[in-house]
Amino acid sequence: MNSISFSRVSVRVAVDGSDTPKTLLHDFSLDLVERRIGVIGANGSGKSTLLRLLNGLVQPGGGTVVVHGDDTVTAVRRVRSNVGFVFTDPLSQLVMPTGREDVELSLRRSIKNSKERAARAEAVLGRFGLLDLADQSIYELSGGERQLLALAAVLAVNPKVLVLDEPSTLLDLRNRELLRRTVAGLDQQVIMSTHDLDLALDMDRVLVVESGRIVFDGDAAAGVARYRALCAAALDELPMGKAPQ
């Protein structure tokens, strides 16, 4: 029950001016039971589409995705309450002007009493060391603080699974390390796409995605090595001597 299962899943989208849909993810099956799972691959390879399948933001064109016993098509509401999703850019995720208000917004559905909600938000912000920043405008926070706040707002409702879509892309070294330590300390099952190979090496299992196919599924060190090899091969094919057109 405590696993994520992809069964013969594929994702296709219609393309303007073409009768043939474009395949974003080719037919694949997977069972994810590890606590820390990394997804790596080039830009446009299908990593985000794979992650978005996990909470129903993308619906499979074929096959089924079942998260902890719930189908992402027929039980999408329950899936979303169990799967927290953190986007690359926290500014597109934080809806309210301040951190405290955003965390309280997350809790509105589960806690109707405003005092109880405020107390719970205080506790969540305290857990992430964000109390001093809780009443500041989200625009006044650094990228790392915003990302941590987005994480706190998602974790406030205590999801079973946490999905992070390239969470360190906009962060500097210090904030990346802060995010890495925070994620390492979480109880949730974490599935994360990243271009940060050091972060990928922390994972229990790594999937390498290339052109909509999962070309590697195994331990982190071998996955990172495979990805590096793919990148090197792709670079070798470039006409490096030519000036850009």
Partner: protein, 212 residues
């Protein structure tokens, strides 16, 4: 994107008389100011109401700087309106119209500066509850207000960023170089916000209405 202001003040924590006043009287004052702008015909009365609202704002402890900022942000618009009305209808009418607009802005700022956003949203939910039998979801009403409050400064910020980019490329006089990127940024923001809300399960039907 850098920080951007909004024409009404953000919540300022405090324990003033205005802070302790329940939401509904404050909301009624804002509504009354809006209605009064159609009824008041003497600019001196408008000036008095404006002074009272400014007094309430300062009494809340939100500070003169925030008050000036709230007025400053709408100054270009009211200046244009005022000059046009002065030219068309004379000084007293122009003064009345400008002052009535400022009364509404300051009254709304008193409400938002002294009421936490969550309390405002709870108020919207309470207002929308009678419409539940007609299929309305009160939490969605509240979420819509929250997203609106968040989106206006974002769009203002996008315009500011795009204007700087256009200046850097020497295109500041080209309206297409300003409007088109702001439009595209705004649409992208709307899509991202929609995804983020869906991912957080916000804006979905109430438990009672949901089959899940």
């Amino acid at each position: 994107m850098r920080g951007h202001g909004f024409l009404i003040a953000n919540y300022v924590p405090g324990n003033s008389l205005v802070h302790r006043t329940p939401l509904w009287p404050k909301f009624l004052v804002v509504a009354a100011c809006g209605a009064a702008s159609f009824l008041i015909v003497d600019w001196i009365i408008s000036l008095l109401v404006f002074a009272v609202m400014c007094g309430l704002f300062l009494l809340s402890g939100a500070g003169l700087r925030r008050l000036i900022r709230a007025i400053w942000l709408v100054a270009p618009i009211v200046l244009v309106i005022g000059l046009f009305q002065w030219w068309q209808l004379g000084g007293p009418t122009a003064a009345r119209i400008v002052l009535n607009v400022l009364v509404c802005v300051v009254a709304a700022s008193v409400l938002t500066a002294t009421t936490p956003v969550q309390d405002l949203l709870d108020g919207v939910v309470a207002l929308a509850k009678p419409f539940r039998p007609l299929g309305a979801d009160p939490e969605r009403f509240a979420l819509t207000i929250a997203v609106m409050l968040r989106s206006i400064p974002f769009i203002a910020g996008a315009f500011s960023d795009v204007r700087d980019s256009a200046r850097a490329r020497g295109l500041e006089r080209n309206p297409r170089a300003l409007v088109l990127p702001v439009f595209i940024t705004t649409v992208a923001y709307a899509r991202q916000t929609g995804d983020a809300l869906a991912a957080r399960g916000l804006g979905e039907p109430d438990d009672a209405a949901s089959g899940n």
